[in-house]
Symmetry: C2
């Protein structure tokens, strides 16, 4: 029996384990597997077209009626800056030439859709049990519609100040995202994310300080990839955990071959924060592009525009088996991951944690 039932009651789940909604790797099959194993499965919507989103949701609902978390980004849409874009393309020009790509060819758009009326209509139609946001929360009228659709609302805090802000805006639970976490830092207060990232706390320090500052349940994230991390997070006062990187090792994760190979070879000190792939700080395995262009740079276009110009380099490199130019998202607990299905990971971590908690 889990000693803290707050998240179980709030979400209607069996284990306080949330699958991180990783936009790119996560589709319906991972969400279904985690949900069927008793965790909170998640479907990230930020990179889906409307048709894809609908298709994935239909697959989920055909296979499970367990609670699912629909995840959305709510960043400010970027103001295009032609000069900055051009300078960035110029910076990448030698790599285009090296890989035999026309440096003046068209580049794809970088499709991270912030939460808006049309996505909100989907929530109203799909009626997921949980809606999570990254980079803060949407405007209150949209948030009220999500609430009215019956969804519990959660979002990530990277600091105590953000946690208090989220609680004041009515979230049902808060993900305390420690610096160890892979993928995008969720920061939304304090100004330029590159400056904010310098001062953000690790999970061990962040979780108890957030727990002390808010009344809603806190979900620990960052550096948690096995049952030791789950039990430790509960000791820090968290009501549960969100796990990302460990699920990247599952066959359900749709990641490139170079990404999967890099995960298998990674150790504790193989990641860094970088903004070169999207324009916002995110943690990934160090590769050539991060070393040579960053890992943090003031020259990259605003989120999410930076991704466009790197996309042709990424796809060409990946076709040749190289992870030199793609984002290889991973958190600092990557060395604890092992190949295992998403359902098995969820069941094993829950069982191991429960065996340590029961005396």
């Amino acid at each position: 029996m889990w000693p803290d039932r707050r998240l179980l009651d709030l979400f209607g789940i069996e284990h306080p384990i949330l699958q991180a909604p990783m936009a790119g790797p996560c589709y319906a099959d991972m969400a279904i597997a985690v949900a069927q194993a008793g965790g909170l499965g998640a479907l990230p919507m930020a990179t889906f077209s409307a048709d894809q989103a609908r298709g994935e949701w239909q697959i989920i609902r055909q296979q499970t009626d367990k609670p699912i978390n629909l995840n959305f980004f709510c960043h400010e849409p970027p103001v295009p800056d032609a000069a900055r874009e051009a300078a960035w393309r110029q910076r990448l020009r030698p790599y285009y030439l090296e890989l035999g790509i026309d440096p003046d060819g068209n580049i794809p758009g970088s499709n991270r859709t912030p939460f808006d009326d049309s996505l909100c209509r989907m929530v109203e139609e799909f009626r997921p049990a949980v809606v999570s946001f990254h980079f803060g929360l949407p405007e209150e009228p949209l948030l009220a519609r999500v609430r009215a659709a019956g969804a519990k609302i959660i979002s990530s805090a990277t600091s105590v100040a953000e946690a208090k802000w989220l609680e004041a805006h009515g979230v049902d639970a808060i993900i305390a995202q420690g610096a160890e976490a892979g993928g995008h830092r969720g920061m939304f207060l304090g100004g330029d994310p590159l400056d904010v990232a310098l001062t953000q706390a690790g999970t061990m320090a962040l979780v108890p300080q957030v727990v002390d500052a808010v009344k809603v349940p806190v979900i620990a994230a960052g550096g948690i990839a096995d049952s030791r991390g789950i039990v430790a997070s509960l000791a820090l006062g968290a009501a549960g955990v969100q796990i990302g990187t460990a699920y990247l090792f599952s066959p359900e994760a749709r990641i490139s071959k170079p990404h999967r190979a890099a995960l298998a070879a990674a150790s504790d000190n193989g990641t860094a924060l970088t903004n070169i792939f999207t324009g916002r700080p995110a943690r990934g395995l160090m590769n050539r592009a991060m070393r040579e262009l960053g890992p943090l740079s003031r020259a990259v276009p605003a989120f999410p525009l930076a991704g466009g110009a790197l996309a042709p380099l990424k796809s060409t490199a990946e076709a040749a088996g190289s992870g030199d130019f793609g984002s290889l998202w991973a958190g600092q607990a990557v060395g604890l991951g092992r190949p295992e299905s998403a359902g098995d990971i969820t069941r094993r971590l829950a069982a191991e944690a429960l065996s340590k908690l029961v005396h």
Copy 2:
């Protein structure tokens, strides 16, 4: 009863709580208070003269026969670089003028003595129960003399690779120093510390990966300032913890008034890694000097020489009640600290942790 007795048996202590040997704030009285309360008190030797070291040790031995940890730095002595020093003084010139200090006056030396024959003779004379090193280990002949003097030997690892190196060199236990920790990062492998610092893991991720990699007991450090952190660290597989920042709140800590005021006002996201105060990355509360000169800079002289030119600015600013130019070392759990004697902190944390561990 502590479930894991490895450190208690190894060091001869009652609670698996190590006081971090913070060079500057820590003198005999803090080590005595922690030792009498059942933890492992520590005396940092890096900034003491021989007379000071002897005097502090005599005070300790007059008041307690409990085990004490003598701590030494073992960095490579820097190669003086006159051009770099001159450029750094030039960089600081506007601040000297602003504070009314002669910018061409003499500056004090920056006295961090690496472990050598004369310090080793002190170990042989004092015969402390434990000797800890920061920045790796001394050369094998010196290490053999420490071992022959009967001391248990410990050192800090900031990565799994460093932990394996330390174990291969015969340490009795390893401090896994997560990125949350205040003061100097203990890194000694991997090249330029400014690059290495970018990839270092937080405590939640580092501890279990180190535990999996070595057989000796692991001591968790970084972000631990209350009993929640202790219980969490044990859940991660650590045999005990090392605590620094929480002890800075004690009256025994010899810190400046601005430092004490900054600690009391600090929150989770108030610190950053900086090398401007000494030449090596260390975590402290953000202040004017860090903002304007760093927080990380390639221009500062090598460790520990950087401290000399900032010293007159620090002392003049502090005399005026300002912490603008002094290092305000603190870890990311600073928001959990509270004013309390070093003995009371040790007893309270041990009692609270034990009450959570006993079922």
